[in-house]
Subunit: 103 residues, 2 copies
DNA sequence: TGGATTTGTTCTACAAAATAGATACATGTC
DNA sequence: GACATGTATCTATTTTGTAGAACAAATCCA
């Protein structure tokens, strides 16, 4: 979950705020995460110094209150790299099951 | 962790028992997992029906007590496929940091 | 002008997973 | 028989995952 949320923040760029992250994560994983689950994770990532957040100006649209915009820190980027390396290691030697399935 | 252990079982084949899984997982992730961490994970995977285990005959060597040999079930294989699909989704749109780093 | 509606965040609580390390066990060696 | 070795189980704690209600701020419109 932490990784999934971290990657969503990376991908969303300036649009990385709570509800958008929730939409992204839910769409990609194919399951519905509660808003609480997402914010708790974001908060933990911030506590660990992998992301930081700031409040945006309110948007002049209905319900457009200030957003909490998240952004990767240098450590967050490092963590992402590290996760990618780890995934490669852990999957190494496993034939692609996706390919097998299509064959 | 569950995924990492599941993949180790898949990779190790007939050699998939507690200590061997621990060695594999520790080597690949680059961190040292306690034996307890590995067995509780294996047990959970078995409870979920993703692996099954059987006791081998004791080996005629020093310390050669019976091993608990693990093996993926059909559901375990499915879970592996599903994990691969999910990983692909979640990483999609993130430029490969590994490639970037080498460049 | 003030309630309904919308978009957004925070708070509280609980369940599940990760993790460590001590303990127990079976076998060969001396 | 005591000891070393490779193995598995048990117990307890910390960390992570998860949900949903409560709260907040803005616009809309009768």
């Amino acid at each position: 979950m932490e990784l999934t949320v971290l990657l969503a923040v990376a991908r969303l760029g300036d649009d990385a705020y709570g509800l958008a992250v929730r939409r992204d994560v839910s769409a990609r994983t194919g399951r519905d995460y509660s808003i609480g689950a997402v914010y708790t994770t974001l908060q933990r990532l911030e506590d660990k110094g992998l992301v930081r957040s700031r409040a945006t100006d309110p948007l002049p649209v209905r319900g457009g209150r200030s957003r909490r915009q998240f952004k990767l820190t240098a450590n967050g980027t490092r963590a992402m790299r590290e996760a990618e390396r780890m995934a490669a290691s852990v999957w190494a030697g496993i034939p692609s099951t996706i390919r097998l399935e299509q064959a």
